[in-house]
Every structure is written in structure tokens, then in C-alpha cells.
Symmetry: C2
Subunit: 303 residues, 2 copies
Amino acid sequence: MRFEVTILGSSSATPIYNRNPTSQVLNINERLYLVDCGEGTQQQMLRFDIRGSRIDHIFISHLHGDHYLGLIGFLSSLHLNGRKKSLKLFGPPHLMEIIELQFKYSETILQYEILFYPTNPKSPNLILENDDVMVETIPLDHRIDCTGFIFREKKRLRKLIKEEVERIGVPVEYFTALKKGKDYTDNQGKVYPNDTLTIDSAEPRAYAYCSDTKYNESYFAQIKNADLLYHEATFMHNMLDRANETHHTTALQAAEIAIKVNAKKLLIGHFSARYKTLDELLAEAQSVFPDTALAIEGRTFLI
Amino acid sequence: MRFEVTILGSSSATPIYNRNPTSQVLNINERLYLVDCGEGTQQQMLRFDIRGSRIDHIFISHLHGDHYLGLIGFLSSLHLNGRKKSLKLFGPPHLMEIIELQFKYSETILQYEILFYPTNPKSPNLILENDDVMVETIPLDHRIDCTGFIFREKKRLRKLIKEEVERIGVPVEYFTALKKGKDYTDNQGKVYPNDTLTIDSAEPRAYAYCSDTKYNESYFAQIKNADLLYHEATFMHNMLDRANETHHTTALQAAEIAIKVNAKKLLIGHFSARYKTLDELLAEAQSVFPDTALAIEGRTFLI
């Protein structure tokens, strides 16, 4: 099953040339999920061939402009491009008030429905579950209410050992039961244990998105063993005081978190505009956690 | 005196690849004036080396997203980049409510003051006057309240004919009076008529910005004789019905307006996303008004 993330923006507070505010799009089994939507996100989609009409779920972490100012424009473009299908939006409670005010004064009556699910910044909640994925909020420690999101792949059914199933001649109508873990009993009453006919599906993968936060162990348990951990790394560690003051994380801290939570791979982003190149942020994180990559715009990371 | 406009965006309702929503920046005697501010305007400034901190006046024509959604991000970046100087903002009355709501929920307290001047969509008003320029609103005919803006250069003082003034030996303290048109009388009581000592300054130039509007003669008198007329030309004339329905103008109509109002030069913009190239819009306008140019992003037009 496809499970990957494409970076649309990785700048913090202010954009700089060629670095847009935060946004990324997940492709999970050919469904697209938009995570944060900074100014210019719809332009980034055009640049990287992401079809916005394929997005049915949007997650907004918090109400700092660099994480949501592109949302109204994107919602409006969906409308103008003829969308009729409803769209699920997850974000801070006041987000909908902001959207409604802007549509009121532009006299826009959307032709599709926005199903709005306000997030709770105080406790982790399962906010979405479908055949492919479960999404939980991650309460973070930022200047204003802020949640990350963890996308956990659903455990898939067991896989048939095709040759064995054919050799024994298991009728097709038993296949689903086998995949669900049942044993098979043939006409003569002979029992074939399930694990001789099927193998377990791959372990479900998880992608954790920690947008804006101070280093705070409170959310570590929740992101444990993530296959890919995206963590903000706004500053170098020599600016730790500034990071603490503004409730952000340093590249070194992000790497330390990756170790503590046993992440398989770390992706750092939300870079301060002061860093014109990102090599030093990457080197700092890799000095502690070698399997670190930069959230460069347009790059896709497999989970 | 420098008097020029640089195009930052020329797309209508939805952006397309390499065409951003409407925005332009005027340089009038080294002061920058921002006119409309669609999503991504601050990124466009980075792209075209426009220093946002030099902008002290912003004009917003109306509250359709493609004309103002980049404003909050831009105002926020000015704040984060340390602006202390106040900024004048001219736009529809509800604009300030939208800005305040977003800053409220991001808990942003700006370090500079926004001096807000609500525009009146019903009648033309002089909304700004300084040493260089006078700015009036142009009531337009759009689906929601919308005003264009006309920037009229102030008439400069007369210029001294240096050799003549030196030959006669006019004392320096009389220069300002001469520039203002006074005659000069020397110690012997001899009168030198002003026009023997000075020449008139150039005729003041005017730039008219007609953002979103249906063809409507009501505003033609006001934009008469503009040196440069920017007029929206969302559609080709074969889509006149659609233009009327959505309160927009066709390229042909824009050219006809340029003739009627005796514009020196026409600049067309606000192109529908349906036109992947703009040659046909340009050709249509030029068939009626040859001195037409396309509002291509990054191009600067002298007025």
C-alpha cells in the first residue's frame, strides 16, 4: 500500500525565496490528505503536480498564519473548479469562524460541504478512521493551542500462501476467513492451521507530524516507534534560548527525540528564515541521529 | 520622478502555474505602494526583489480572495521582520474585521500601527495626498463592492533656466519663489517675467487601476487621459455573456475603453485560468488598441 509524504512547504513564520510556509500532502493508498496549508500551498500543488481535487481530508495544526493562510484560497479554488464532494476539515475550533467570515464578505456560497471537526489541544484523540488509516491528534507545547497528527496504517489482512492454498484446493469462498486468521477444515475433517496457509501482513506503519512545539516529553509516548517522524527544527542548538522562548525545537533536540521515541527515520522542517542554506541544520541533527533528512519542497518520502 | 508599476500577479480567481492572483507595486518617487495583495504576494516580492519593508501604503480593491488573501501573511511578516513604522491601509470596511480576527486567534500583537481608511464604493474619493501623488478611488461595477484606484502625480514646481538665472545673478533665496511662478525684480527695479527664467515642469502623469469590473461607462470620465490604464480583461470577447454574468470585462472591451478614455497605453490583466497562454487576449485587445501590453509577472511598466 502506498504510504508517502510530499513536502509542499518547510519554512517557518516568514517565507523566504524558494521556501514556502508549512504544508505537506500524504498519499495513503491513493487517497490524498493535506496537512497544514500555509500561504501559497495551492501554488505549490500546481508546481509539484498534486491534484487538489483529490484531497478529501485537511488537517490544520494551529492558527499561526504560516500553517493555515493558504486554506481559504485553496477551499475557494476547489469551489471555483466545480467541486461537489464534501470535504473533511480537522483543526482548531476557531478556524471555521475565520473561514466563514471571509466567505461571508466575498459572498461565496460553497457548492460543496465542509464537514468541520474541531480538534482538542488538551488530549490525544482519534479523529479519523477509515479502511486505510487511523489519525490521532498529538497535543503539542506551543505558544498557542497546537496539535500534531499521527497517521497509523490499519493492520492489513493476512496474505494467502497461494501455492499451498491451491495444492489443498481450498474453495474461494473460504479465502476471506483465512485472511482473517481462521483455520481451514476440509471435507474429511482434516484441520489446516491458519499459519500453514497464510502469512502475516506487514506491520502497520506510522507517520508522526509534530508541527510547532517546544521539546516536551509529554507527547513522546504517543509517537513511539514511528516509521517516519517529521519534527520541526526551527533553530540550531546554539539558539536554544530563542527556541524555548518561542516554543520551538532545535535540530539537535529533534534528533534526540528521534532516538528517545525509537523513530526509524527523522525528517526535519519548519526552518527559520535566518538559515539561507540548511546544511548546518542537517549536520547537527545527523550528528545525533544519522538517518535524518531535510523536508525540502517537492521531495517525497516513503514511510 | 520615477513613476512605474511592477506586476506581482495577474491571474483571476484561481492561480495557475506561474500566474499568481492579482497584486502590483507602484514606485512613485522611490516610495512603494502596494495595490491588491492576492495569495502569494509576499513570495512574489522575494522573487522579484521588492523590499516589502519599503511599502507604507496598501490599497485593496475588494474582498474577493484573489485580491487580498496574501495581505495577512504580508502584514504578519512585516511584524516578524521588526517593522515599527505605521502603515496606511485603504480597503473595504470589513477588511479590518477579517485582519483583526486572524491576529486575535494567532495571538499576534503587531509592533506597528495599521492606519485603516475604509473605502466608499459608491463615490470617487480622494483618499491620499502627499508631496508626490494624489490617489482617488474609482467606484467599479463588480459582484461585490469594488473600487479601482487612480494615482495622479502632483504637478511639480517650475524648473529654473540655470544659465539665465546665473547670468542675471538672481540670489539663491529667490529660487523657490521663481519655481512657484513669481517674477523677479532686481535692485534697479527691473522686472524679469517668470517665463524668461523658468520653464514649466512636465505634465503630471496618471495611472488608473481598474481591477474587477463589468464594462460600465460610469467610471470612464474619471480615468480619462490616463498615461497608463490597467484594466482587467478576464475573458476573450467570445465569452461576453460569461463576462457580463460574472461582472468582468473582455479583452476587446478593455481596448474599447482605452480608446474612449483616451488612454496613452493599456495594460491588461486578471486573466482567466482557462487561458494557458495569453497571446490571443493580447491580439484581441491590440486589434482595437495597438499600444496594449500584458500584465506579465515581474515586468515593470513606466508610466
